[in-house]
Structures are given as structure tokens and as C-alpha cells.
């Protein structure tokens, strides 16, 4: 099991261990506090969902792990990214290159723009292969065919010489996935892999990811703003707000007993597939936090109906709840009674295993 926070003991076993990572964008006009100290551990083969609304720092965190923050503004202010115990922060460009794509691979949000329009997809896959594995052209091409086959692209051999614009969005995302898994990375970061796709394709891509993670034994970090997406895929879920984790725990537990008002808000804004709950979808009121200055108290306070004086003054830290591995950073966690009223949690399906959460999927 992975365990966040007080993890000094588990450091040695974790494959990827992020410690108090802080990322800033420093421009002439402002400093943006994009990520403000996140920590988590990821075991080999584990699946972790990171959920939060647009601008909360999900993408920036993952770019920081790979050392590809947008330059020159982006920089890692503090923290460690330990991969097999080796800190990637401050690693030489040469060593980082081996990590990128080789040990940690990434899939991006928009498959329409993430592939180079002037290179064939064969070229784009083989260049990844040849950057990390000692392969000649022909072997790389053969491997690329096998990879495209694996991600479900029909007629793979012929399609190798096609250009990205000749593929549909879903197919391009499959190509991106093929590229990402090509060098058998230990960690796959999927940054909103389905956001730009339509609903039926979303489900297919998620299925594909799930299957691949199982068969390859890769660890997966699935980034999304949609709790419904993590439900069927991730064992653990971390909810992010304004560059911090506000609630972390096993996915089922988090869905059954959300403790942070923000998590509750997210859950209320996800459409459920089962017909038993006819609820109105409730978007979270208010706008995301302006990241130009850090608040003294809880960043969510301005939008929170539970906020008290303390919320505005004292920064809440992640503390364990009754649920053991379930942690929340909130002075006034949501009472259980509220959950029942909201038609959430403690219901008959609340303590099922991850598979039962399929009802949340888009």
C-alpha cells in the first residue's frame, strides 16, 4: 500500500516518492505559486488519481517531476522527487533524459496537438524507442508495429507511415499511449488523457490504460478534473486544490466518506450512471484561487460554506481521519450526516471494492 504524509518508513520501498514539492513561475509581473508542497508515494504497479479543477497545479506537478517545466519562468522552489531513492530535482540534463520516457513516461491532455504534425507517427514512436533502447531502425519499426497493435490500432503496419492528421482524436491518444509505454517505463503519468475526447472514446481509452497498467505492471498517475474518471481506475485518489493536496485516501473510502468540503463539491458535480440517485448536479460556487499570492489560512475558505475563523487564519494540514489511511486538510470536515443527506456515502455500494465504482465512470 502507498501511504502519504508521514512516510519516512515507507520511503525505502516506494518507487516514486515526492516530498514537499513546490513549484513557482517567476515572471517580471508576478510570481505564481503553482504547487505549494505536495507529497506522495507510489509503489510499483500502484494506481494513483490526482483530481482537482483547472489551474490547481496538476500538470505543473508532473512536468516538474520530469524536469520539463516551461522555461524560463518555471522552477522547482523546494522538495524532492525520489525515483528509486534518487532525487530527480537537480539531476543533470543527461541523467534526466534517461528518466524521461525511459522510467517515467507521460501522456498529455490534447492528442490533437501533442503529436508533431510534420512527422509520421512511425517516426515519432521509433525516435522514443531509439532514444532509450539500443535498437536499429528496423527493429524499432517492428516494435512500433507491435506497440500500435497493442493499443488497438488496426492495420498497424500500414499506419506507421501516416501522419497525425490522418488519425481521429481517440486514435491519436492511442498513439500517444503506445509512445509512452514504448520503453516500458516504471511510471506512467496520464495528464487528463480523456478530457479532449468524446464520452464513448473516453471509456475506451480508460479501459486501455487500465489493461496496460495491469499487464505491464506499470505504476499509473492519472490526472483529471473529473472524479468519475479515477473511480474505475485508481486505488488511491488525492484531491488537489490551489497547489496542495486537501484530501487523500483509498478511492472507495474517499468516495464513500468525503471529508473535505471541496471533495464533496467535486462529487456532487459528477453525473452518476446508476439511476437510483436522481440528483441535481451542483457545480462548486466561486472561482478557483488566484495563485499569485499564498493565503495564510485554507485556500478554499472563500468558497466554503463550512468556513470558520480558523479557516481564514490557520493553514490546515493533512491529518488522518477515522478511516486510517484517509487524510484530510480541513478544520471543519464534512459531518457524516451531511453525506447521507447529499445521497452520497454510507450507502449500500459505499464499501464495495474498486470495481463497483464503475458506476462513476463517464
Amino acid at each position: 500500500m502507498t501511504s502519504p504524509g508521514s512516510a519516512a518508513a515507507t520511503d525505502r520501498t516506494a518507487l516514486l516518492s515526492v516530498r514537499d514539492l513546490e513549484v513557482r513561475f517567476v515572471t517580471r509581473r508576478a510570481t505564481i505559486h503553482a504547487v505549494n508542497g505536495i507529497s506522495f508515494d507510489l509503489d510499483p504497479g500502484a494506481t494513483l488519481g490526482i483530481v482537482g479543477e483547472s489551474g490547481c497545479g496538476k500538470s505543473v506537478s508532473s512536468l516538474a517531476m520530469l524536469g520539463i517545466l516551461p522555461q524560463p519562468a518555471g522552477r522547482v522552489k523546494a522538495g524532492q522527487v525520489l525515483l528509486d531513492g534518487r532525487d530527480l530535482v537537480g539531476l543533470s540534463e543527461h541523467d534526466l533524459r534517461q528518466v524521461r520516457g525511459g522510467e517515467i513516461a507521460m501522456i498529455f491532455q490534447d492528442p490533437m496537438t501533442s503529436l508533431n504534425p510534420v512527422l509520421t507517427i512511425g517516426r515519432q514512436i521509433t525516435e522514443a524507442l531509439r532514444a532509450h533502447l539500443d535498437m536499429d531502425k528496423r527493429a524499432a519499426a517492428e516494435e512500433a508495429v507491435a506497440l500500435l497493435d497493442r493499443v488497438g490500432i488496426p492495420d498497424a503496419r500500414r499506419r506507421l507511415s501516416d501522419y497525425p492528421h490522418q488519425f481521429s482524436g481517440g486514435m491519436r491518444q492511442r498513439v500517444m499511449i503506445a509512445m509512452a509505454i514504448s520503453c516500458r517505463p516504471k511510471v506512467l503519468i496520464a495528464d487528463e488523457p480523456t478530457t479532449a475526447l468524446d464520452v464513448t472514446i473516453q471509456a475506451q481509452i480508460l479501459d486501455l490504460l487500465r489493461t496496460l497498467v495491469d499487464s505491464e505492471g506499470m505504476a499509473l498517475i492519472l490526472i483529471t478534473h473529473d472524479l468519475g474518471v479515477v473511480a474505475g481506475v485508481c486505488e488511491r485518489t488525492h484531491v488537489m486544490y490551489a497547489g496542495r493536496f486537501v484530501e487523500t485516501g483509498p478511492t472507495t473510502e474517499l468516495f464513500a466518506r468525503p471529508k473535505h468540503p471541496y471533495t464533496l463539491g467535486l462529487l456532487k458535480s459528477v453525473p452518476r450512471l446508476d439511476e437510483r440517485h436522481h440528483r441535481r448536479l451542483e457545480p462548486i460556487g466561486g472561482a478557483p484561487r488566484d495563485m499569485r499570492e499564498l493565503p495564510t489560512g485554507c485556500a478554499f475558505a472563500p468558497r466554503c460554506t463550512y468556513a470558520t475563523q480558523a479557516s481564514w487564519e490557520v493553514l490546515p494540514l493533512l491529518e488522518p481521519t477515522a478511516g486510517g489511511d484517509h487524510r484530510v486538510a480541513c478544520h471543519n470536515p464534512v459531518p457524516d450526516a451531511e453525506l447521507v443527506a447529499a445521497g452520497l456515502g454510507l450507502g449500500p455500494d459505499a464499501d464495495g471494492d474498486a470495481e463497483d465504482d464503475d458506476q462513476w465512470r463517464p
Binding site: 533524459r97 524521461r100 520516457g101 513516461a105 498529455f108 508533431n116 510534420v118 522514443a128 532514444a131 509512445m179
Partner: protein, 335 residues
Amino acid sequence: MLRYVALRLLYMVPVLLVLSFVLFAFLRALPGGPAIALLGERATERDLEVLEQRFGLDRPVHEQYFGYMRNLARGDLGVSIRTRRPVREELLDRFPATVELSIGAILVAVLVGVPLGFAAAKRYQGAIDQSSLVASLIGISFPVFFLALLLKYVFAVRLGWLPTIGRIDVRMLTAEHPTGFYLLDGIVTRDWDAFVSAAKHLVLPAIALGTIPLAIITRITRGATLDVVSEDYVRTARAKGLVSSVVNRRHILRNAMLPVVTIVGLQVGLLLTGAILTETVFSWPGMGSWILEAIRFRDYAVLQGGILFFVLVVVLVNLLVDISYAFLNPRIRYR
């Protein structure tokens, strides 16, 4: 693609027809004429008439036009009034000189402009960026004619590093010129002295003519590179663990080149115009100085043939650019 090329070539026919007519009419509407230009102010009416009759200039304009077009269809461009040589022959003499000069200028512009623009974009708002901005502003606003004179004065006359005029050392004029492109001739005939001499003669005119396109290409490359570096696929390339030189070349530059190719095509027309001035300053025996002479002498046949040929070249080069653009950009498919 073939269909597209055929169509484009076909479109050229009406363009050239209309142009030839306008050109023909315009030249004859200008005050003065070849006879008076050739014979001078003090020629008698009689002398002028004789000369005009000789060249058929006394016939009605439309008759002259149809006669000209009939000959043109047979590849006969007429005879220069001034030199009495067939225009076609002169054209074939002059054309390679201008092509050589233009290619030299484009090479200067591309080989310096692309790396400079790229470096400026990579160090956005850094020293290279700022100074390339200033330099290209100067480059664009400097009149070609003045720049040519300045270069010639400093590097040829004052410093004596490079020759002042001509395409090749006069002693080598008699060397063999199977193609008319002197650099190429030097290689073909293995006459390395001739090659070096031709190259030295080419340097200053090529720089003079290439400066404006250089400035433009630098700016375009810089802008395009700035656009491309923040593209998602560049991030993908980095996330794959590619070496940064590969990211730069294969992923950034290749995409940034697309607008540059278009610009190079558009520059060709301007280049040929600039060639007229450059050739005059450096006594470069190309089409520019040829046409300039022809204007002075109202040498109708040369002007018509030369200008039509200019247009033909510009149109063909642009077609070539469009075709190569399709090869660089797989999203473009001509039908």
C-alpha cells in the same frame, strides 16, 4: 499533385497573355521611342522614318502586337534595336548571371537568417535577440542601391579584399563557360582559379542583394520559432527524453520552417527587382542591367522579352515553393 501542377501551369497562360498585352501597349504609350533614343536629338525626320520602317514600328500597334505574339509562339523574341542581336540569345547570356546572383543572395539570406532567427528566439529578449532586431530593422530600411555602393566602397575600393565589378577576372572571360553559371563552369571544367575568381566576385553583390531578404527571414524564423517552442508536441518530444539538439532540429525547426519557405517564395519577385540595382552598381552582366539599358533605349523587344521572362520565372519559382511546401507539410495535399 500532378493535376495541381498542370492546372497551375495552365493558369499561367492567361496571366502571361494579359501581361504581354498590357506591357506592349504601355511601352508604346511612353513618350519617345527607340528611333529617337538611338539616333539622338539631332536625327532628321527622314532618319527616324527609315529606322522605324526597318523595325516595323510604323505599322499599327495591334498589327505589331499580333506579329510579336506570332513570333513569340515560335520562340522568336525579336531583335534588339540597340545591339541588333536576337533577344533570345542575349537573354540566354544574361539569365545565368542573374540566377547565380539571386541564388547567392538567397543562400546568404537563408544560411544566416535561419540560424540567427532561431538563436534569437531561443534566447528570447536576450542579447542576440535584441541585436538581431536592431540589425534587421537597419537591413530592411537600408536602400539596396546605397548598401551596394557602401559595400563596394569599403570592401573592394578601400580594403581591396574583393573585386569591384564583373562576374569573373577579365583574364578568365575567355575560359570555357559551358553552362553560363560561372561557379558551376569552374567545377565542370575543373578550372579552380576560375571558380575562386567567380566566387570572390559573387560575394559582395550577393550580400548587397541578400540583406533585405536576410532581415525578413530572420524575423520570420524568430517569430515562427517562438510560436513552435510552446507547442504541445515540443513538450511531448522533451518528455520522450530526446536530446535537445534533436528536439530543436526535428521538432522545432522543422515546423518553424514552414512559414519561412513561403516567405522565401514571395521574396523571389523582390529579389529580381533588387537585382537590377545591384547589378548596376557591380556592373554585373545580368538581366537587371540589361533591362535597365533597354529602358534607356526604349528597346521594345528586349523589354518585352525580358519582363515576360521575369514574370515567368517568378511564377515558376513560386510554384516550386508551393510544391516543396507540400513536401514539408503533410497536412497540405494538392488536388
